[in-house]
Symmetry: C2
Subunit: 346 residues, 2 copies
């Protein structure tokens, strides 16, 4: 058997990638080898690109985890997929032996490995992954759309944890890629969604997608929510801005017994109005990545058109142009989701 080749993009530090062709490895026992179709650029990948995660990823990492692909081969003992199947990888590898795993929360395993950060990822033609991470896709799903499954699964997890009911009033604070996906999934679940965002280009996209919007730098968000809800406030708030102003707003606009889902990653420790938590019996829910059911839900929401994938995907570039694609996404005011077309670039 001739050795297969594999074209891969390695992050080499300081906003640079080197794309080179290396020898493909056969899948080990329990692994599947995936031929990548598309891989989206995540905000986390952008953090890597900026050099903020060098200590974690090193200077020879193949990043990428928002992907679609096809099973190319399977290693010994793999029975859940067969070559030729379209799949998406849920890029979490858990230890199976920590308190979180024992409690059934293996997506937040104490020793969680995130594929594409802690191991090599999907910005390569052939990617070997643990077979337990695979979700089989419907044949009719477009492979570019399928590259949205991972971020949509984040949104599905957030909306599931919010316990949103049909007809409830929802405010999404922050209208970037994740905020927009959360808004779409919340709307698909029956929520009456308002998006709060300060970036006018993002507000325009949100309006194109049919959402009510507000720029809280120009209008009083709390007054608007009060008037929209008959003085009740929002039943569900998603804080996706990662800012102190967002954290201030989330308690101000929340109805009695509202659920506030913490989607943003706050590296600082913001001040929080705990009196309001007491007074209105608010609930704050931390949400991280996704569980298997969220992946299945994401697949069905994309397949049914509940997420408008064509509007969300604003750019597609070949793997050879990955560095240019990162620069473009980093500087564009209008880009939402940028995909790398990995297949066909050997």
């Amino acid at each position: 058997m001739t050795a297969q080749t594999n074209t891969a993009a390695h992050y080499r530090g300081d906003k640079s990638f080197v794309v080179e062709t290396i020898e493909a490895k056969a899948p080990a026992a329990g692994e599947a080898q995936i031929r990548i179709a598309y891989c989206g650029i995540c905000g986390t990948d952008m953090h890597v690109f900026h050099g903020n995660m060098d200590a974690r990823v090193g200077l020879n990492r193949i990043v990428g985890h928002e992907m679609s692909g096809t099973v190319e081969a399977v290693g010994d003992g793999v029975t859940n997929v067969v070559p030729g199947q379209k799949i998406s990888v849920r890029p979490l590898d858990h230890c199976g032996d920590c308190p979180a795993c024992h409690a059934g929360h293996n997506h937040i395993c104490h020793n969680l490995k995130f594929l594409g950060l802690d191991t090599d990822g999907a910005m390569q033609e052939l990617w070997n992954v643990p077979a337990h991470t695979l979700h089989v896709l419907p044949d009719t799903l477009r492979m570019d759309h399928a590259a949205l499954i991972e971020p949509v699964a984040v949104a599905c997890h957030d909306v599931r944890l919010s316990e949103l009911s049909e007809g409830e009033n929802v405010v999404v604070i922050g209208g970037g890629p994740i905020g927009i996906l959360v808004a779409m999934v919340a709307r698909d679940a029956g929520g009456n969604v308002l998006i709060s965002e300060v970036n006018e280009a993002r507000l325009a996209i949100a309006q194109t997608l049919g959402f009510d919007t507000v720029n809280p730098a120009k209008a009083d968000l709390a007054d608007l929510v009060i008037s929209r809800t008959g003085a009740k406030g929002a039943d569900v708030v998603f804080e996706v801005s990662g800012t102190q102003l967002g954290v201030d707003a989330m308690t101000e606009i929340a109805a009695c017994r509202a659920r506030i889902v913490m989607v943003a990653i706050h590296a600082q420790k913001p001040q929080i109005d705990l009196f309001r938590f007491f007074w209105r019996e608010l609930k704050l829910i931390g949400a991280r990545v996704y569980e298997a059911g969220d992946y299945e839900k994401a697949i069905s929401v994309i397949a049914s058109g509940g997420v408008d994938a064509d509007t969300i995907i604003t750019d597609v570039a070949p793997l050879a142009d990955i560095e240019k694609a990162f620069v473009a996404l980093d500087t564009s005011p209008t880009a939402m989701k940028s995909l790398i077309k990995v297949g066909g670039n050997a």
Copy 2:
């Protein structure tokens, strides 16, 4: 019919009460007239005593809401109680027409009146209250013990909202009167409870009551919780300290998917480790007062001995000595719950 007399303690500002005998009012339609047996001094009453709530209560308020008593008479249309029944008052009067009331959360009504603060309270022999606030007591329940129903109902509400399961690890941060009651109710519900408290006198009481304790100023609370729980962390945390240190600890010691109940009233806005909320998918639950079911639960927990009322009640004074009782409670390092014996002081 001769007018009944009523001895009452009026708060007159600046740490003073005036006890005087006035004419009793007959209960209006929908009201019951209650002959008060005992009334406990709440932390909120102490805030009134210190002058911190003069704008809300004025300078002629009869305070008191942690009470036990007997129905003396009923006004027109009252059918849920009859004279002679032992009762406790759930001191909340809701508007019935705000978004919280419409949503079924009338204990956090937007226009909630708290009896004994927004209206006159139980530090008087005869108290007229809306009949819907009454819970009938078992005949066998001691009336001094029954004065603990209101604060125990707070603890029952907190523990219910925590969704505590049998055998879970619980940490109560702050071992004052409410913290101790929360700890007792959590233990009664099957929790494995640790109390964290810096006041050595309070630690001694907690130990007398059979609790594991830690002084976080002298030992590392997080290390202790890690070692007690096999590296998991606490399943349920009650933050009752009202301090930034307590807020720092609550996220540090919480297990993946732990529930943190915000019992303390934080007048400031503390900084909160939201990254930890994300990373471990923590839940923060604001809890305020109680609902009807919490009162029924409190009555049964006290009646069954799940709360050690005799240890909690550290002082009993007659109504005539109310001012002295407030001063004593304010300055005693060992006092937990101080009751005023209202009946029999005419």
